[in-house]
Amino acid sequence: MAAGPLTKRLNAVKKHKVATEMQGQLLALLPNLRRYALSLTGSVEDAEDLLHSTVEKALTKLDQFKQGTDLDRWLFRICKNTWVDEWRQRKVRGPSVDPSDLQYEPSIDGEATAVNNIELQELNRAMQALPEEQRTMLVLIVVEGYSYKEVSAQLDVPIGTVMSRLARARKKVADTLIAAAESRTETVSSHVGEPR
């Protein structure tokens, strides 16, 4: 039995081991990454495309990922950079899609579904109206559950900025949702008593 190119063999095996482990971790992180993509793009279709491009890039850069560091942070960074590149290429500003783009499918029937869809559309409008950096902040903290410190490191901004952006974003969303709910109530009230 010849000694053989052991180092080469082990490196290949280690590379494979990393790829196999990463496969599971990447698949598990896809929902988080897609939510982050949605927070960046504000559009479901764009989020799906961005997720795809991010995974594509991440797979070509696997050897650059340092084992022992946070894979989600690494992926989020690739996602953000990919979106910035995409944004530059499109050279567009403002909301990229119609609010009706978010076609959520809650498993409720009848009136509840209708109300729910309206509320989700209102939420979508509120989220669309936010600047991207506030929307991202909101998703990372409210949806993903990261701490201020983690988000500060992830986005490379001071904690004070995290707090102020987050406060402004939450306030805007809350105000927009209240205004929309009040508008709905008024519409219903104004229709009461009208002849059929």
């Binding site: 052991l6 063999r9 929902p31 897609r34 995974v55 499918e105 409210v142 102020s164």
Partner: protein
């Protein structure tokens, strides 16, 4: 009391100090206006979470998942084709002696039990207690993982560089060749080495701890099966696969290069 939105959201997220949290909690409980502001912000959070939960219900695009799965499959193929000794790691090593060998392997990785090694034709034993046996007709098995510090193999492991073949004194036509040296997660050092004898070869891993060498895994190549009841791993073509699994469980970093290995040997493993 004028509480800023920043402070209120930090309160919601539990990002204030314990004292500030307690103080603000007390303030909220006595201020209906503050309680309402908090309620509205919490309500917005809830709506956001619901919205994203609904988004999560959409299936991930199949072509995105395929990217990941295809990459893993490609790594499989690359791994198999990387060299004549490369076998995919994914498959668990198949040990031909059933449950007993599996246990042996696990225990071996923990560097806690015995070596069993033997050769058809000539035979070779690593004495466990100063006893040396040889036989030209039968395999000799010994369930002792510790390499006798007076044995020629101990000397090879302790002092010989990788890729240098040393004839073992006192054994007919038996030689040993260190193959590689690496550090473990426990900061010990291990060596992979071959022992050749009359057309048969074993590939082994020994680890050094407290000045003693212990065999932690051994794979016999092209040899007949050992006697029934003996814990032994044989492999006709799966040697690298079996030992790779062990090495990968032990190794920290990479295989030492020639220079680092030479330094380590000349410094008596310090």
């Amino acid at each position: 009391m004028n509480i800023s939105d920043e402070k209120l959201v930090a309160f919601m997220d539990g990002e204030l100090s314990a004292a500030e949290m307690a103080s603000l909690e007390n303030t909220v409980s006595t201020s209906p206006e503050l309680a309402r502001r908090l309620e509205l912000l919490c309500g917005a959070d809830e709506k956001i979470r619901q919205g994203f939960a609904a988004f999560d219900a959409r299936p991930i695009r199949a072509d995105t998942k395929d990217l990941i799965n295809n990459a893993a499959n490609a790594a499989d193929k690359e791994n198999v084709g990387a060299g004549d000794n490369v076998v995919a790691f994914k498959a668990k090593p198949q040990l031909n002696t059933g449950a007993t060998s599996s246990i042996w392997m696990r225990q071996a990785i923990a560097a806690s039990i015995a070596l069993v090694i033997g050769f058809g034709g000539g035979a070779f034993v690593f004495p466990g207690s100063g006893q040396t046996e040889t036989s030209s007709t039968n395999n000799i098995y010994q369930t002792a993982g510790l390499v006798d510090n007076k044995s020629p193999l101990f000397s090879v492991l302790e002092t010989s560089q990788s890729a240098s073949t040393v004839q073992l004194e006192g054994y007919s036509n038996v030689s040993a060749t260190p193959v590689s040296t690496f550090q473990t997660y426990d900061n010990d050092y291990c060596r992979e080495f071959d022992v050749q004898s009359s057309g048969s070869t074993s590939r082994n891993i020994a680890c050094r701890n407290g000045g003693a060498w212990t065999i932690v895994a051994s794979v016999l190549h092209n040899n007949k099966s050992p006697d029934a009841g003996v814990n032994f791993i044989t492999a006709s073509d799966g040697t690298p696969q079996l030992l790779d699994a062990v090495v990968l469980q032990l190794i920290e970093g990479d295989i030492l290069d020639k220079e680092d290995e030479a330094k380590l040997l000349s410094n008596s493993w310090r």
